[in-house]
């Protein structure tokens, strides 16, 4: 299973959120679950993160890296793809390096709790 985390959408960026929800399934297939999470639940104007969960995919079982990087750069968003089995993650930070960075910080409890 993988989770694709797209961040951050500022308050009022509903159109960008809708565009992201339309874009990602087109390049990766239909997500099993999409979760919209406020970064600070107590703040009504909090920025938002989107979590796309794909139960049957692994980190490299898709070929959408280039498209996701283009989308991230165009929309000034960060994208992290986290593998729930290996705990590997690949991140694209549009304002840093123009490439996907592979990292492993172990199990991500926050992402595990968001499953189901």
């Amino acid at each position: 299973m993988i989770t694709v985390i797209v961040s951050s959408f500022w308050s009022g960026e509903q159109e960008k959120i809708a565009a992201c929800k339309e874009f990602l399934p087109l390049v990766m297939g239909k997500a099993d679950a999409i979760k919209e999470v406020a970064e600070d639940p107590k703040d009504p104007e909090s920025s938002t993160e989107l979590y796309f969960q794909f139960y049957d995919l692994t980190l490299d079982y898709h070929d959408a890296w280039s498209e996701m990087a283009d989308f991230a750069r165009e929309n000034e968003l960060y994208v992290i793809v986290y593998d729930h089995e290996t705990f590997d993650r690949k991140g694209y930070w549009y304002d840093e390096q123009d490439e996907w960075i592979l990292q492993n910080f172990g199990q991500n409890e926050t992402l595990e709790k968001l499953v189901k």
Partner: protein
């Protein structure tokens, strides 16, 4: 519109550079194509090509994965047609009418030229405006795209 601009050093000597003054000016824009399920990239570039020649280029790249996707090229900024398919590193003549989104990009890019260059009619070249910086690249400019085009077909002497 993403922009990359490079001109000769502003140390006073550039007055004599003429055609060599503008190293490279590149405009880039992309849009997601729902049918293609990928991005279409457009590039318009003007710059010094070496040998005392200023070159122009217009590219249309149909896909985010540059290896294997169609890459069209014309040797002028304002083409009515996409002249060549350069996907395989060879200039294969195609003469395809410019698609509507390419025309739209072309219009916007040509309109943006005046921010960075002016037409030196005496020498028939594009020359940098006096108040432009030596080097500027916008935050979202996709340098990897330029790196790829340099491997395929890049008529300019400035490389990255």
């Amino acid at each position: 519109m993403n922009i990359l601009f490079k001109r000769a050093a502003l140390d006073g000597s550039s007055k004599e550079l003429g055609i060599r003054d503008l190293h490279l000016l590149v405009f880039h824009k992309s849009r997601f194509d729902k049918d293609l399920k990928s991005f279409v990239h457009h590039i318009m570039a003007i710059g010094y090509g070496g040998g005392g020649v200023q070159e122009e280029a217009f590219y249309r790249i149909e896909g985010s994965k540059f290896d294997g996707c169609p890459i069209y090229y014309s040797s002028v900024c304002g083409p009515g047609f996409l002249d060549y398919d350069i996907s395989n590193g060879k200039l294969i003549s195609v003469d395809l009418e410019l698609p509507a989104d390419s025309k739209k990009f072309q219009f916007e890019a040509i309109d943006s030229l005046k921010t960075y260059v002016h037409l030196d009619e005496y020498n028939d070249i594009w020359a940098p405006l006096a108040d432009t910086k030596e080097f500027y690249v916008s935050d979202k400019f996709p340098m990897h795209l330029i790196t790829h085009l340099q491997q395929v077909h890049w008529p300019f002497s400035t490389h990255f």
